[in-house]
């Protein structure tokens, strides 16, 4: 795992998790605060932080660190 992982840092601060939280633990299923309301704010935050716009079909699937990372990778966004 890259130590300066901007996506992980963003998710950790966004959901107010302990600083050392592993990327693999960042899923909607395991983060209680990751509800549909947070999802809306998170999409805005991600789009603004990484300068991207997600597809409608994609948005529904952005429910974990891994999915978001994959979506960013498809746009060649370096993390």
């Amino acid at each position: 795992m890259n130590e300066s992982d901007a996506l992980r840092d963003l998710l950790v601060e966004f959901f107010q998790l302990p600083p050392g939280t592993a990327a693999s633990a960042l899923t909607q299923a395991s983060v209680a605060a990751w509800d549909s309301l947070a999802m809306v704010q998170l999409i805005t935050e991600l789009q603004s932080a990484f300068g991207v716009e997600f597809e409608l079909e994609e948005i529904e699937r952005l429910t974990s660190y891994a999915e978001i990372r994959a979506a960013l990778a498809r746009r060649n966004i370096p993390l």
């Binding site: 107010q16 309301l37 999409i43 805005t44 603004s48």
Partner: protein, 611 residues
Amino acid sequence: MNPEPEPLLSRLPEIVRGPVAEAIRDASWIKVRRALAAFELCAPTEQGPEVSIQILASFELESIAPALCLGLRCIPARAGLRIAPLNTIEQELLEPSSPVYAQPGLATVILWRADELLADQLYPSSASQAVGGVRQLLARIESMVERYLAASSVPLLLGTVPLPAALGGAPLGSRPRPAVARAIAALNAGLFDLAARSKQVHVLDVNWWAAQEGRAHYDLQMDFLAKQPFTVAAALSLGFFLARHLRPLIVPRRKVLAVDLDNTLWGGILGEDGIGQLKLGHDFPGSVYLRIQRELRELKAQGVLLILASKNDEASARQAFEQLPNMLLRWDDFVVRRVNFEPKYLNLRAAAAELGLGLDSFTFLDDSDFEREQMRTFNPEVLVLNERGHALHLLSGLLRTDAFDIHHLTEEDRIRHRDYELRAARSLPAESNLPAFLASLDLRAVLEPVQEGNFDRVVQMLGKTNQFNLTTRRHHLDEVKRLMAIPGAVGLTLRLVDKFGDQGIVAVLLAVPEGSPDSLAVDSFLVSCRALSRGAEEVLWAELANRAAAAGVRRIRAQYLATAKNGLVARLYDRLGLKRTAETSAGADYVLEPVQPSAFPGWISVEGNAP
């Protein structure tokens, strides 16, 4: 030209100003959260009062709640929002047991959205369909508002309806868009009319706000994802807009504006350039100064007291007022004129003493960096309206400030200027001939119960009287009504009239039974600082004693609760003949027992007293 910063921001404590500015700059939810967290680090006194706001909306506002909260925290206020479920405005207002009535807050806010409210009219097959729909809708809204006013005394902020961004730019030829725009304009005009009928209803012109924000406030993706179309930046802006409208319910407006002359009311320096070279008129740059004068004249009409604070020779300044063409303001428009070479902070202190007002009700407009800095240093209570000295900054400081915000002007606001102008004539001479002087004023005190018709003034006085205020209880309207509904409660207002004119209601006393019907406790007792030393307090107290005695009350308890500002009345009850029963640094307890009728001061005639 960079505008003056958001007025709310400039007053924030250092440790939150940075985080709030960053949240606005980056329009990021993480930054919004950091800014909210920074408020928690402030001293409780810097965080403002705890208030709750009820929001009913046809936008889904939960997802932008933190942005709205941030605006409210900047008032400052520890604001809690209760956002009703989406599209339940009508149910909430019509249902007597709904949370709007069960948990009333500081204010109730209604935000409508055309897409919901006018769903049928947004895509009408004919123009008449759109306009006809609006009439029906307005009738419905009117009955909702009437129901609200009958059931609640909490202020209602009634939003206007923003033109949907997706329709706003449509060219005129693409019918039926103009019909939709016309329908929304008609709806908004109806909402303004509706609000004008009650002092409890204030318009929140969301349509104006959305127009200012422009197309940038609208995010199509958000609209479908979150059932509200606001970008983060727009959500923050909406929060500040809302805060600006709620602030007058929490913070009293400033009463005084002290202005400089040279390069403030006209361009150029009188003492160096001479009257002939000063710039004031319809051409640039004189037009900027003319506009500043126009704004000042408007503020005066709204009850703001104008003061001149200028380092000039007084005779020359007066001459300029008389001879300079295009002057809108007159020498007499200023209630106090301190035109001399003393430091301005001393001049403002003297003016405050002369007017009987605290420096915390003063604002200051001056082109000189030195004067503004000196004012900030020596009179930190004074709010400086402009950050820089350029004439356009003076003007924009005036246009943007929230210091004079008020929802409805009372009669006292309208006559305040004339009243203070007459103060000089009324001001008290040496102690020795005081009774003779008071007698020469033909003072008349008109007593009235606290009741419908003067509630506004009573709440206003409870909210802002600092010096002659025994308990400094800042009751809102609801609380005043509740106290007055207690059987045996006594609420009195005193209107003072003298040979110069009517000063309006200048004193209030509230007392409620405690324990048993034969014992009264004074809840609040206050006199406006412009009516001190006239006998208002003696009249009110005597009237309370007379009414109490007639009603069989045997004991009146009263308290002095010390604040930083009410030392003036620390010994009032001793003077009125009550017995002090306890005293600490926080104040003192008093009792009057038995209660006997007492006489009014000889120099004042009283009307409306109990027989």
